[in-house]
Amino acid sequence: MSVFKLILINLGRNKRRTILTMLSVVVALFLFCALRGVLDTLEASIKVGSETRLVTRNKISLIFPLPLSYRDRLAGIPGVKAVSYANWFGGRDPVDPHNFYAQFAVDATTYFPMYARDIEIVAGDPPQVQVAVPAGLDPKLASFLSERDACVVGERLFKRMKWKLGQRVPVSGTIYPGTWTFTIRAVYRAKNPAFGEETMLFHWKYLSEKGMGGQGTVGWYALELSDPSRAGAVAHQVDAIYESSFAPTRTETERAFQAGFVSMYGNVPFLIGVIGIAVVFAILLVAANTMMMAARERTAEIGVMKTLGFEDGMIFKVVLSEAAIITLGGGLIGALFAKWLIESSGFNAGGLLPPMTVSWATVTIGIAIAVLMGATSGLLPAWQASRLSIVDALRRVD
């Protein structure tokens, strides 16, 4: 037997209590890490956006469109290397309305080259007729490019829905009413995990023709810059051009644009943080109470150990170690389980957010909290046990 084994034996003397205390720490740290995971995910969603791209949208609100006619003028602004544009479609799965995934109408010939660093095409239907694929586009997009109602879907969505290439997928329009049917012609994989793989991309031209009666309005423009250091100047120039037009613009970096979405959550991130800390604090009190009860029940035994020659410091270490093992063990299980469960679930709010993640920083903070919890909950009983006079301790039974 070693002192460590003695500690383990002590932990096993009331297995139910030890397991329940550890489980409470597991739950606390799981919740803490899961809640912080939400914050991590929101933070990651900001990072989806690039600092080298600008987004130009209607100054009033994102829900108001911009004319397509802005495209050529934007492309002519010095410092703008390429322009693409897209619309939010907002369709629903007609079979299962709760099965939400994002759909965007994009200008394929400019969109895919612009986002080549973020996504790659991993599968594509061979074209029925020979099609010339424009430079900068993956040849696997040939079939998609040649069909008006074709779409490209994220690999994860593709697998989750058990779709096949060539399958026709119905989508109920909400902003653009009616049932829309898209043919899956290619599948993309996110090179940047934060981009997500739960999105459907289809031709903007199809949306324009079927949904807007040929009216050329776009949700937003994406501008790729030749010199990212001039982002501020270019954004200012764009907004200045359209300041007095019927559709004034607001231009910002893609990252700031994403951050704007996050800011719409208002104080939710703060509340999430507070709830996480409150949960940990509540469990800390429970753990501290349990440790004190456990130490108190052994008052006479501690007196005996001291009589045998165990020093105060050793008693302190034994009692503190018991608390530390419970909280550190529970903390490790809770934090790592949260990371594993949440990341393997791949939840991404239907593509509105990157796949939910619990960062290693959060896991580390969780484990640090568990250590702190162990120290805080174990310190008082350990100190009391170490300070206990032998005569007083033995008197409680003799």
């Binding site: 034996i9 005996v304 045998l308 105060d312 033995l394 003799d398």
Partner: protein, 224 residues
């Protein structure tokens, strides 16, 4: 040479504003290899004197010299280490750790010694052999009779080979047969292993097993 030399010891407990004098200028010499029974009515200071000799309590004044060491001057870690090396303590209610087996209970004091696991095992097994419980090593205290529990407690007191054994009413919670066994064992430890034994008891029959009987009355030694 005296193994235990208690010189002019006074022990005063404070209960709220009141001072209770438990030992009042007590002096006592116990030679090496002696076996002393301390008797006296409840509250006479027997256990207090035993605790002072064992270094688990400190005198208000006076000296307690055990071997060459005045333990009244020792504090904290020094005193704990001294206790681990020099004193074996036997309690009335055995005070075994319920979650440890008989063997683990006996091995417990050896965790404090710089000793290999093999040596610890040998010594713990030997101590259990001495008390006649070699076949009960893996039994937990709840699986043993009172007499057996007390014998495990004696093995625990014995295992670090202390010169002095202190027993506080070691037969007080036992039936007559078990008590007789324990008293025989203590006699054997005194005669065969030359342990100096100080035993507190109320029982005159138990006291008869000791070489000497001392009587305490209101903190003062009556006769030796």
């Amino acid at each position: 040479m005296a193994k235990v030399d208690v010189q002019n010891v006074r022990k005063v407990y404070r209960r709220e504003a009141e001072e209770v004098v438990v030992l009042d200028g007590l002096s006592l010499r116990i030679p090496d290899g002696d076996y002393v029974a301390l008797m006296g009515p409840s509250g006479s200071g027997k256990t207090t004197l035993l605790n002072l000799i064992g270094g688990i309590d400190q005198p208000t004044s006076g000296d307690v010299v055990v071997g060459e060491v005045n333990i009244a001057k020792l504090r904290g870690r020094e005193l704990s280490r001294w206790r681990a090396r020099n004193i074996g303590y036997i309690f009335q209610l055995y005070n075994l750790i319920p979650v440890l087996t008989a063997y683990q209970n006996v091995e417990l004091p050896l965790l404090l010694a710089k000793m290999s696991s093999k040596d610890r095992t040998e010594r713990a097994k030997y101590a259990l052999e001495v008390v006649g419980l070699a076949d009960r090593q893996k039994h937990y205290p709840r699986q043993l009779s009172g007499g057996q529990e007390q014998r495990v407690a004696i093995a625990r007191a014995l295992v670090s080979d202390p010169a002095v054994l202190l027993a506080d009413e070691p037969t007080g919670d036992l039936d007559r047969k078990s008590a007789a066994d324990i008293l025989s064992l203590l006699e054997r430890l005194n005669s065969e292993f030359q342990k100096t034994i100080v035993m507190v008891t109320h029982d005159p029959h138990a006291a008869e097993h000791a070489k000497r009987q001392l009587h305490l009355e209101k903190g003062v030694l009556q006769a030796s």
